[in-house]
């Protein structure tokens, strides 16, 4: 539960300016809420490529299991002559594993995303804030940890001068 100052902007560029101003003023803890993806205020470069790795892992696993089932059923559990084809007809046994692999990969990717994004979380204190309701539509919100001293607070207000409104929030 951090106490913060939320500035509401009408356009992304306004928010960008305010964010960089705030950063120049030495404010580090910034959080942005926007209706669509925006370049992050600070390039802290929190990593996202693990999603790719999880996906690859899922794909590999899915395909391997699928081929395993094929081999087990066709070459081991119930082998029989089908048009004189080899029991382990690997070339045609590649189709199903590929399809299954892609599906499992997607599922792994989705799960990885949800966990990293902290979803699903059906209730969040942010929902208490009236302004949040428009963050999904046409408002661009910048939240900064509320400074202790009044001097810092003034600097902050200076940085956020372009905002439509500024509200105190608890996140």
């Amino acid at each position: 539960m951090t106490r913060g100052v939320m500035a509401v902007f009408a356009a992304p560029d306004r928010l960008q300016q305010a964010a960089s101003a705030a950063r120049d003023a030495g404010f580090r803890q910034l959080e942005v809420f926007s209706p669509f993806e925006m370049p992050e205020p600070e390039a802290d470069g929190s990593r996202t490529d693990f999603i790719g790795w999880w996906t690859a892992l899922g794909g590999g696993l899915g395909a391997a299991v699928a081929y395993g089932v094929e081999w087990f059923s066709a070459a081991y559990a119930y082998p029989f002559n089908s048009g004189a084809r080899p029991l382990n007809s690997w070339p045609v046994f590649l189709f199903a594993p590929f399809e299954v692999g892609v599906l499992v990969a997607a599922i792994f990717g989705l799960v990885a995303f949800l966990r990293a994004a902290g979803l699903p979380r059906l209730h969040h204190p942010a929902f208490e804030i009236a302004a949040m309701a428009r963050a999904s539509q046409d408002r661009f919100l910048l939240v900064v940890a509320r400074p202790r001293s009044s001097a810092r607070r003034a600097a902050l207000d200076e940085a956020l001068s372009g905002a439509l409104e500024i509200v105190e929030v608890e996140l």
Partner: protein, 945 residues
């Protein structure tokens, strides 16, 4: 004997039929259907003696020899019986008219036994009745005829050869001296009777010995076509048509293509004019005092070559005249045969009735119309349908105070008569018959009568005054007198073997055949040539669904027949293929579809009899017009002055095959080699499989394979119906055929490798190829189509989900899909088809809706043989497994066996120079392969067939 007697059971005469009795009788009819399923009460004797024990086990198949008739002639069959139910009929190897082979008629007879439409009870003026009510009425009526000594009494039958029936008819004639016994067959041999009368002075029957014939000339004759002799003659003729030095040469001149014509080396489409000219020309060159008639150059060249060949093969050449040819042609044939010392036995007619068929029928018709008849008994004949004046006869019968029809069905004639009484099916009763060559044989029942019926013998005995005679006693009474030594032993032996060892009429030394100068024919207007129906005969089998759906060997038409015309005639008449037309003579007309075929003789339209049944149950009724109505008095085979009028573009006749050519490459499907080329080492085409990446899996204990000799196949369809009977293959009915669906596991394709004007039609039986690299198997998603260790391409019906990918990917299209619930018997409409179930082979599962099915090489027979060999601890001998189609084939064109056994017949045939593989280039490696057709053309004739 006393002219009257008292009935032991049954209600009082003329007692009104109250509800209780009606229901009782109906129940008697219906309920007995399957309840009475079981072995007959009297002792019957299995065909092959087997040790006691295992064969008595329930479900075990026992085999009994008995006799069926076609047009009155006996043909030996062996019935396979399971738990008291006959389920399949096969030829009796011991019987000279069968030799183990069979034809569509004897294969399909089993279905008649269980036919839902069979007459189940007698029907009298007051409605449903018991047989005894009928017996009582008949007896009383006959008693009345004591006064006029039977002058007003008529007995009408078809051809009768059974010694017992003949004996009883004599007894009847003795009882009623003035009675007239009328006898006729719609497909009669009057021309032969008259022809031999002309040539020899008395009616005789020439019996060619084909085994000795190097050259055969058929003048409108169709020895390979449907008929009592088909099986034996096909065996004899085709045995010498498979290449090799002994190969015979077959010349055929005929109006419309026949099975014999399809097998000929040289075929001449010939109407009466050309036919007579040909006959005369040949005779003239053989020294007959005949004037050269004017004819076409082609016919002249033909005659020249034939005559030369006949002379060159003196003593080994035969000439046959067809039943449809005029008497003089038969006389001419007799003269030629005598001149060339042909291998022909001449015997006295098997049918002792002295009258000609047409004359006999005409006389009956006259008497009926003149009112000279007061009582008529029709025994297993159907004049109302197949007599030219059927309608008049029906009307006349309606005016009779007493008339009775005894038969298997309530047919047209039964409907016209006051009384209809059910006869037992031949498989239900004791009887006897004589084969076309004179061999007598016994018929023993394989099952208790399903309904309240009697045998023809019992009916005749009733008329002769022996009401309660048992059929068996009647037959035994016939044979006991002539017994040489122990009768019981002979009787038993006869039942086991199926034939009696008492020789028929020995070949008579006929008087010298006189030369009869034929009355010259003038150029005639369009001629209608009638022929036997390849599967309905004269129409008597129209109620048999298997036969209705059995494709015409040549046109592949089912459920009806078209009129065949030559292209030029069609053009002059303004008719096109598939047109609907009205044809006839004056007021006698019928409607039919027109089929334009190049192999038809100019000026002759061909149409088979047998269509147009008015009362043949849900299966046979109302299919086309009745050609018999066009015949006019005299039961003519061919009539002049046919007029055809186009009614408009009709639907093309229902057929299972429409295309007979593969533009240019037909010869690759049905290779035809000349004897010379074969001798020179020619090959029909590659039979080595193309290279493949796949390694064929190791073979199991056996490697089943089939080789079909296209040179021996006459296209008769016996195999098709045999397969249907053996494997519970349902009929689909005309509606399904119309949308291109059919169920036959084995089909006989017709291909025309020849030029347009001389198609040189040939046949290719196509069962499942049982490919070693089967295209159908890898595409099945659920492992329903799998390959077993012995090379069979199995279809697991329970596993099939019906994606039909297997059939889509089958280059031979031999799989069949249950688009609907075909086993429900829709073609029988609302009839209760329960009885049909009794025919089904318990060894073969019945397929449900939505599954794919196919030929299995009769796997049930293979496993039976495997079980036997395991029991006896010896390997399965070559020939121990015979598929149904193989057994049926009259010309032994189908061979089946084990490729693992290098000495087996199939292994040998696969090394034959004529061996080829259908669609070999696809690399499917079929286990079913073929031997190419061979022709032995006469070098003297420019255009070899």
């Amino acid at each position: 004997m006393s002219p009257t007697f008292t009935v032991t059971r049954g209600p009082r005469r003329g007692a009104p039929l109250d509800r209780r009795r009606a229901l009782k009788l109906l129940a008697a009819g219906a309920a007995t259907a399957l309840a009475s399923c079981g072995p007959p009460r009297e002792a019957i004797v299995p065909y092959a003696r087997v040790g006691d024990g295992e064969d008595l086990a329930p479900g075990a198949i026992r085999r009994y020899a008995t006799t069926l008739t076609l047009a009155g002639y006996g043909r030996g069959v062996v019935g396979r019986v399971v738990d008291g139910r006959p389920i399949k009929l096969e030829g009796n190897p011991a019987h000279p008219a069968s030799l183990g082979g069979s034809d569509v008629f004897s294969e399909a007879a089993i279905l008649d036994l269980y036919d839902p439409w069979r007459a189940k009870a007698a029907a009298g003026p007051t409605g449903v009745a018991a047989w005894l009510d009928f017996a009582e009425a008949l007896t009383a009526r006959l008693a009345g005829h004591a006064a006029d000594r039977g002058a007003g009494l008529r007995l009408l039958t078809g051809r009768v050869t059974g010694p017992t029936q003949l004996r009883l008819i004599k007894a009847i004639q003795a009882r009623f001296p003035a009675m007239v016994w009328a006898r006729y067959e719609p497909l009669h041999d009057d021309a032969e009777r008259q022809g031999t009368r002309l040539a020899y002075g008395r009616p005789l029957t020439p019996r060619p010995r084909f085994a000795e014939a190097d050259v055969i000339l058929c003048l409108g004759a169709d020895p390979l076509g449907p008929g009592p002799d088909q099986v034996a003659w096909a065996r004899a003729v085709m045995a010498r048509r498979r290449g090799g030095a002994a190969m015979s040469r077959l010349y055929v001149a005929e109006p419309g293509l026949s099975l014999t014509g399809a097998a000929a080396d040289h075929r001449l489409p010939a109407g009466p004019l050309v036919m007579q000219a040909l006959g005369l020309e040949v005779a003239r060159r053989l020294g007959a005092p005949a004037q050269p008639g004017e004819t076409t150059p082609r016919a002249l060249a033909f005659a020249e070559a034939v005559a030369a060949d006949l002379v060159a093969h003196k003593g080994r050449a035969v000439v046959l005249a067809g039943a449809g040819q005029p008497a003089q042609m038969h006389a001419l044939a007799a003269w030629i045969n005598q001149t060339v010392a042909a291998p022909v036995d001449v015997i006295d007619a098997i049918d002792p009735n002295p009258d000609d068929h047409a004359e006999s029928l005409a006389r009956l018709t006259r008497d009926l119309q003149a009112g000279a008849v007061t009582s008529l008994v029709v025994l297993d004949a159907n004049p109302v349908h197949d007599a030219p004046e059927g309608d008049a006869i029906a009307a006349a019968i309606g005016r009779l105070p007493f008339s009775a029809d005894l038969g298997l069905y309530k047919d047209e004639t039964a409907a016209a008569c006051r009384w209809g009484a059910p006869l037992s099916h031949p498989l239900e009763g004791w009887s006897d018959a004589v084969g076309p060559d004179g061999t007598p044989s016994l018929a023993q029942p394989l099952i208790r009568p399903l309904y309240d019926s009697r045998t023809a013998e019992q009916a005749l005995a009733l008329m002769a005054g022996e009401p309660d005679a048992a059929a068996r006693d009647l037959v035994r009474a016939t044979w006991r007198p002539g017994a040489a030594g122990d009768f019981e032993a002979e009787w038993r032996q006869a039942l086991i073997a199926g034939v009696l060892r008492r020789g028929g009429p020995a070949p008579t030394a006929p008087p010298a055949a006189r030369w009869v100068e034929p009355t010259p024919i003038t150029r005639s207007p369009l001629i209608l040539a009638l022929s036997p129906h390849p599967s309905l005969w004269d129409g008597r089998y129209a109620a048999n669904a298997w036969l209705q759906e059995c494709p015409d060997p040549l046109t592949k038409e089912v459920w009806g027949q078209s009129l065949r015309l030559s292209p030029s005639d069609a053009r002059t008449l303004g008719l096109g293929h598939g047109d609907r037309a009205r044809l006839g003579f004056g007021s006698r007309t019928i409607e039919a579809n027109v089929r334009v075929t190049p192999d038809q003789a100019l000026g002759v339209a061909s149409l088979p009899l047998g269509g147009g049944r008015a009362r043949a149950g849900p299966i046979g009724s109302g299919l086309g017009g009745n050609p018999a109505r066009l015949r006019g008095p005299g039961l003519a085979w061919s009539l002049e002055g046919l007029h055809i009028e186009r009614l408009g573009a009709g639907r093309d006749g229902l057929a299972t095959q429409a295309d007979h050519r593969l533009d240019g490459d037909t010869g690759e499907l049905l290779p035809t080699m000349s004897l010379a080329a074969l001798a020179a080492g020619a090959r029909p085409g590659a039979d080595r499989p193309p290279p493949s990446l796949l390694t064929t899996p190791p073979r199991g204990e056996h490697a089943w394979a089939m080789v079909i000799d296209a040179a021996a196949c006459i296209g008769c369809n016996a195999c098709v119906v045999a397969c249907q009977a053996e494997n519970n293959v349902p009929v689909v009915g005309p509606d399904e055929i119309a949308v291109g669906r059919d169920m036959h596991w084995l089909r006989v394709d017709r291909y025309d490798p020849g030029p347009d004007d001389d198609p040189n039609a040939g046949f290719l039986p196509v069962p499942c190829m049982q490919c070693e690299q089967a295209p159908c198997e890898p595409v099945c998603p659920v492992e329903a189509s799998v390959h077993d260790s012995e090379g069979l391409n199995d279809q697991v019906y329970n596993r099939c989900v019906g994606t039909r990918f297997c059939q889509a990917n089958c280059p031979y299209k031999v799989r069949r899909f249950n688009f609907r619930d075909y086993t429900a018997g829709a073609p029988w409409r609302d009839l209760d088809v329960t009885a049909l179930k009794a025919q089904r082979n318990p060894e073969v599962s019945v397929r449900g809706r939505g599954v794919m099915e196919k030929c299995t090489y009769c796997v049930q027979r293979i496993s039976a043989a495997r079980a036997e060999s395991a029991r006896d601890g010896r390997p399965i001998a070559d020939g121990a497994v015979k598929t149904a189609c193989q057994t049926a084939c009259p010309s032994e064109a189908i061979s089946f066996g084990d490729l693992e056994d290098d000495a087996s017949r199939v292994a040998g045939l696969r090394r034959d120079p004529r061996h080829y593989v259908l669609l070999n280039e696809l690399g499917t490696r079929p286990r079913t392969t073929y031997l190419a057709r061979v022709r032995n053309p006469n070098p003297a004739l420019r255009k070899p067939a």
